[in-house]
Amino acid sequence: MIDVLQGEVPIDDESHIITVRKSVREVATRLGFGLTDVTRIITAASELARNIYTYAGTGVMRWRVLDTGAFVGIELTFEDRGPGIANLGQVMQEGYSTSGGLGMGLPGSKRLMDEFEIQSTAGLGTTVTVKKWKKK
């Protein structure tokens, strides 16, 4: 059996947030993550996909299976060419929101995952990469 080790889901419609959640659920479950971790990963993915839909309109989520030998992991990259974030420091603070939301999307997703990386340039777009690891 040949396992698919990477894939991508375009995000350019509200309904694609569900598609992202479904793909992530499938991969995370296949990797053997427990129910709580699967829920954490899906919820973080949902927040990050929604950010793309809300702020950039369109973008893509790429997923990749990671394997270090002792650990297996899931990597999710959310990329858009939207307006970018001029004030990254502020955005990572709890409760900061420009959309009338709760402002927990980015800091919350960071807490739900093991690794979190954000790169953003005003006018060029934003890329968020998150990872979750599991001992084999």
Partner: protein
């Protein structure tokens, strides 16, 4: 379509809505609309939102629940969230979400008891 997955039922003097496992945004938005219209129509003591089947509760869904509860309160009703799964409770807490003054109970049965007692005071 979204609305087909949601049904509001009236049990005695309480409205009950059961959410599907992985509700999309239109379903979540439809929830608020359906609940408020049903409150107006049936004038119940309160609303039980059964989320025992829900396996993903993101901030959009959570925010809609809290907003709806506030609206129900303004209309004179009480909202009770019933049956949150352990994995969802853990995730919601780590995400930083608080349900404010919304009542939460283990299951629908306890929700019914709570709403009945609530009105005796």
């Amino acid at each position: 379509m979204a609305d087909e997955r949601l049904t509001v039922i009236k049990v005695r003097d309480v409205l009950m809505v059961t959410m599907p496992p992985d509700p999309d945004d239109p379903t979540v938005s439809a929830l608020q609309d359906m609940v408020l219209k049903s409150i107006e129509k049936f004038n119940p003591k309160g609303l039980i939102l059964d989320i025992s089947a829900v396996d993903t509760l993101d901030s959009f869904f959570a925010r809609t629940i809290v907003e709806t509860a506030k609206m129900v309160e303004l209309m004179g009703g009480v909202t009770v969230i019933a049956g949150m799964r352990p994995s969802v409770a853990i995730t919601a807490t780590q995400l930083g979400f608080t349900f404010g003054r919304v009542h939460t109970v283990l299951d629908v049965d306890r929700g019914l008891s709570l709403l009945t007692e609530e009105r005796r005071r």
